[in-house]
């Protein structure tokens, strides 16, 4: 078990399974198919991301460095939240990027289901956490990863 501390973007308490990508998370490419074809598990449709491709994202603690890709990204994250396809939580190892920030903030302000979001967790966090590990997130930005 290891504990990390980050900066709170959207506060919340969550305990769920981790889904990890060490490369940039392409929001549009990842959510495109699930939003278009009603896949409630929100399986990742980004063919360029072998760590996530085909894996369900809904309800997972998504651990990532930053998001990349189209400037529709924030809108897509918001739409995914409103359509209940969203990850349980976003944990960024780096400082959050402008597109992801927009998405998590739009979800917090314009929906009733804000998605807890923490950034600046550090490279060590992303090195340590593996898909399938149990992650506990607290309101003050404390993240505990159980092996």
């Amino acid at each position: 078990m290891k504990t990390f501390k980050g900066r709170v973007i959207v506060p919340g308490n969550i305990k769920a399974e981790a889904l990890v990508t060490k490369s940039g998370f392409n929001t549009l490419a990842s959510f495109q198919k699930s939003l278009m074809f009603g896949d409630k598990e929100a399986k990742c449709s980004d063919q360029n991301n072998p760590e996530l491709f085909g894996k369900p994202m809904q309800g997972k603690v998504l651990c990532l460095p930053q998001t990349i890709g189209s400037t529709t990204g924030g809108m897509v994250l918001y739409a995914a939240t409103k359509m209940e396809r969203q990850a349980a939580c976003f944990l960024f190892s780096q400082k959050i990027d402008s597109l992801a920030a927009a998405g998590t903030i739009l979800s917090a302000v314009w929906t009733n289901t804000p998605v807890p979001t923490i950034d600046c967790l550090g490279l060590e966090f992303l090195d340590y956490v593996k898909s399938g590990m149990l992650v506990t997130v607290e309101e003050d930005g404390t993240v505990t990863v159980d092996q």
Binding site: T71, M75, A79, I105, L106, W110
Partner: protein
């Protein structure tokens, strides 16, 4: 962040709940990046990235409805990315059925855009900064735009100031009339983290050079040296076209919002190496590196040896000069090969106003005679139709390659294929 009295009153609900949520969103967005204040949007027009009435984007339409119902409209008119479909672009019966289902909210969404502040019916393009379109910012203008290729062009080539905003956020800035002051809006945020040394034996292909830079620097700011050797030191139309295509690749293959080209782009000319941060990393790009990068692009066609069924040129949209040059090049090559029409169904895309102007030229007849369709759609949205995505499509756009199954070829390779045929 410290809000002024007017901004605080908006946040407190003086102009209604929807406006309060708009300002709350912008404030939280700025807080993420330690913005200390809001600054006025000084550009004449906004630019929105969301142009498509995808049937599943109900949550977005709900926000629009809420804003319209409370009279919370944009203070400045805006252009928007290209429409997803047009009748003249080749598609079979099933593909057309799918388009109708996918984009079933297009008319409704365009009505929403009109109510919110759309410039006009023809303001659908990713190259809103072309002079024909009428949304070209001035040097130093603060913008509230999205669309990565437009943002990087406005920042780098025109010297305007805009962050890489997301869809919806950009509309909120146009509504509020102010945006949080951080990142590429600040002098410090516009300084380069990287020096890129271009050391090639000929002018590098814009789309591959941009890809190489984007993949290396991601969202950082690069200061590009050695490119003036190939482009010169004046921003003429041809150079602006090159920078448009290179910038789109930096933004889609990475997340670049601003680049400087030594002796060429306005801030690099004025400030020279003062724009480079102390300790900036150096990345050298030569012919071998560019060849390696292109060779490593994944080919995700079901049959990599398939004959191409369509070709898209113009992502981002072509300029007037590019339309003319591509038409002349294709016609010359067809003549050389003893052909009259292109071997692969081909679509050129340009903004409605650029296309309208081109249709009045003699070159347009040559284009039509060669069997090429001139359209103003977004090729990316065409390829998002799963039935189109399954087709072997080729393109000279690195952005289209990145987001779809389209296969990238350099300009001269595309010319060969169109005029001779075969992969």
């Amino acid at each position: 962040m410290i809000l002024n009295q007017e901004q605080q009153e908006l946040l407190d609900g003086k102009k209604g709940a929807a406006m309060a949520k708009v300002v709350k969103t912008l404030k939280m967005y700025g807080d993420c990046f330690d913005a200390e204040k809001m600054v006025p949007v000084t550009g004449d027009h906004g630019h929105l990235v969301t142009s498509f009435g995808l049937s599943v984007l109900k949550p977005v339409y709900e926000i629009m409805d809420e804003l319209i119902a409370e009279g919370v409209l944009a203070k400045q008119s805006f252009s928007v990315d290209p429409r997803p479909t047009e009748k003249n672009v080749p598609a079979n019966f099933l593909q057309n059925v799918f388009f109708k289902v996918m984009y079933s909210k297009q008319n409704m969404y365009e009505q929403q855009l009109s109510k919110l502040g759309l410039m006009d019916e023809s303001a659908f393009t990713c190259t809103c900064y072309e002079t024909e379109v009428g949304n070209q910012p001035r040097f130093g203008d603060v913008l509230s735009w999205a669309e990565s290729s437009a943002v990087v062009y406005a920042n780098s080539v025109l010297g305007a100031r805009c962050n890489r905003n997301s869809g919806i956020i950009e509309l909120f800035g146009s509504i509020a009339g102010f945006v949080p002051y951080f990142g590429l809006l600040t002098d410090e945020g516009r300084k380069a983290d990287w020096i890129i040394e271009v050391d090639t034996t000929s002018k590098p292909e814009a789309q591959v050079l941009g890809s190489a830079i984007g993949m290396k620097v991601l969202e950082d700011v690069p200061y590009i040296k050695g490119l003036d050797k190939w482009l010169g030191t004046e921003l003429n139309d041809a150079v602006c076209d090159y920078l448009k295509d290179m910038g789109a690749a930096t933004a889609s293959n990475g997340a670049v919002g601003l680049y400087h080209v030594e002796n060429l782009t306005p801030e690099a000319k004025a400030q020279r190496e003062e724009l480079v941060k102390e300790g900036a990393a150096v990345y050298r790009i030569d012919d071998a590196k560019l060849a390696r990068i292109q060779a490593n692009y994944p080919v995700i066609w079901k049959d990599p040896a398939a004959e191409p069924k369509m070709c898209f040129i113009g992502c981002p949209h072509l300029s007037s000069l590019q339309l003319k040059e591509w038409t002349n090049s294709i016609c010359d090559m067809l003549k050389q090969h003893g052909q009259k029409k292109v071997a692969i169904p081909t679509v050129f895309t340009a903004s409605p106003k650029v296309a309208e102007k081109f249709r009045k030229t003699s070159e347009y007849q040559s284009l039509a005679n060669a069997g090429i369709v001139l359209s103003s759609i977004c090729p990316l949205m065409y390829m998002n139709n799963p039935l189109c995505g399954k087709m072997p499509v080729i393109t000279n756009s690195n952005k289209l390659r990145t987001y779809t199954t389209a296969r990238y070829y350099r300009d001269e390779e595309i010319l060969e294929k169109l005029t001779k045929g075969g992969v």
